[in-house]
Amino acid sequence: MIPAPFDYVAAESTTHALDLLGSLGEDAKLLAGGHSLLPMMKLRLAAPSVLVDIGRLTELTGIRAEGDEIVIGAATPHAMLATSELVRADAPLLAHSAGRVGDPQIRHRGTIGGSLAHADPAADLPMALVALGGSVDVLGRDGTRRVAAGDFFTGFFETSLEPDELIAAVRVPRRPGAGWGYQKFVRRANDWAIVGVAAIDGRIALANMGPTPLRARAAEQALAGGASVADAAELAAEGTEPGEDVHADRDYRRHLARVLVRRALEQRT
């Protein structure tokens, strides 16, 4: 499969990339690792006229501590996130989540910013960011705005990013002692989650239970009110309208959410 023809520009800086996005308009797409965009282009589900490559901008790559947050450059590949000592120590849920994306080759190329911008509701990192209560630094020509994870994902493969903006960095709180659990139900080793659950302390996020990653609010409230893990987990699918596909119908997804939330909560230590 071969993408439709396009022009390619390797951006020299984020400023250059923003200028290009501004002048080229909505027909231009940012390319980093390309592991969400290129498959869509090969299937002709996407046919941008220009790709602006930001994948090799060192200013967008890397992981650092900043006060009580970890700041991750948008073009940081999953493999770097999964093996980072800082992330493993202070945000182990995120390191684990990055290590569950696809397979090793995919983790060498795919980036956190790309995964979040793609906003697949079945993906690992959007769910992890929602569970962690992280945020996204969105860079536009007028400066940076910070968007909370819960406000970033607005619909099925849709985010609050404007066409002339890019993700500069991703922020997650440092919580080295927090108990966390991670569950991902798949049919094949390197698949997307049929249903996924990320839990940290009393926060629970669900993947593939709706058009965006969701909080399991009813279960969270029950936990906060002193309910047992088993009783809280029974409420995991409350208020969700999961889609149906060849892997699972709606009832089965709701069943999976209840079972996986219980397992994720039991995993916390």
Binding site: P3, D53, G102, H108
Partner: protein
């Protein structure tokens, strides 16, 4: 547009369309046919090559993205007619049947061992989860990777002794 790559140690400069995939560049422009196009959807790993030493699926990388970088295919693993230790181990342990997945499997294994020279069996199985084999049931492939790791360690020990 013009790309400048080092492929199996040789510097190249070629004029390509931006949409040319790295696997097609390797097969059709460079004439290197080891990397196979299998699923063409980033799943099966038959097109795995090393990009600056790390394993990638070349059906999901543009040739222009690889410009300025080093690509290694199965053809470039060993000097002349010899076998790379991982290739030798695949032959020794019969880690293949039809052979279609083998170049990608070998490259993924070389990448895995460069990151983890002493993997457990479970780590080998997880490390190769991006490569599908429809013939072998994986057992001899895993054995081959473990044997290659052991051979490399034994050689290290001998050099050190």
């Amino acid at each position: 547009m013009q790309v400048e790559l080092t492929v199996n140690g040789q510097q190249r400069s070629d004029e390509v369309e931006p949409r040319l995939l790295l696997v097609h560049y390797l097969r059709e422009v460079c004439g290197l046919r080891a990397a196979n196009v299998g699923c063409d959807t980033t799943s099966c790993g038959a097109c795995t090559v090393l990009l600056n030493g790390t394993s990638v699926k070349s059906c999901t990388v543009l040739a222009v993205q690889a410009s300025g970088q080093q690509v290694t295919t199965a053809e470039g693993l060993a000097a002349d007619d010899g076998l790379h230790p991982v290739q030798a181990a695949f032959r020794q342990e019969h880690g293949l049947q039809c052979g279609f997945c083998t170049p990608g499997m070998v490259m993924a294994a070389v990448g895995l061992l460069s990151e983890n020279p002493d993997p457990t069996e479970a780590e080998v199985r997880e490390g190769l989860e991006g490569n599908f084999c429809r013939c072998t049931g994986y057992h001899n492939i895993v054995r081959a990777v473990l044997a290659a790791a052991k051979a490399a360690r034994d050689e290290q020990a001998e050099v050190g002794a």
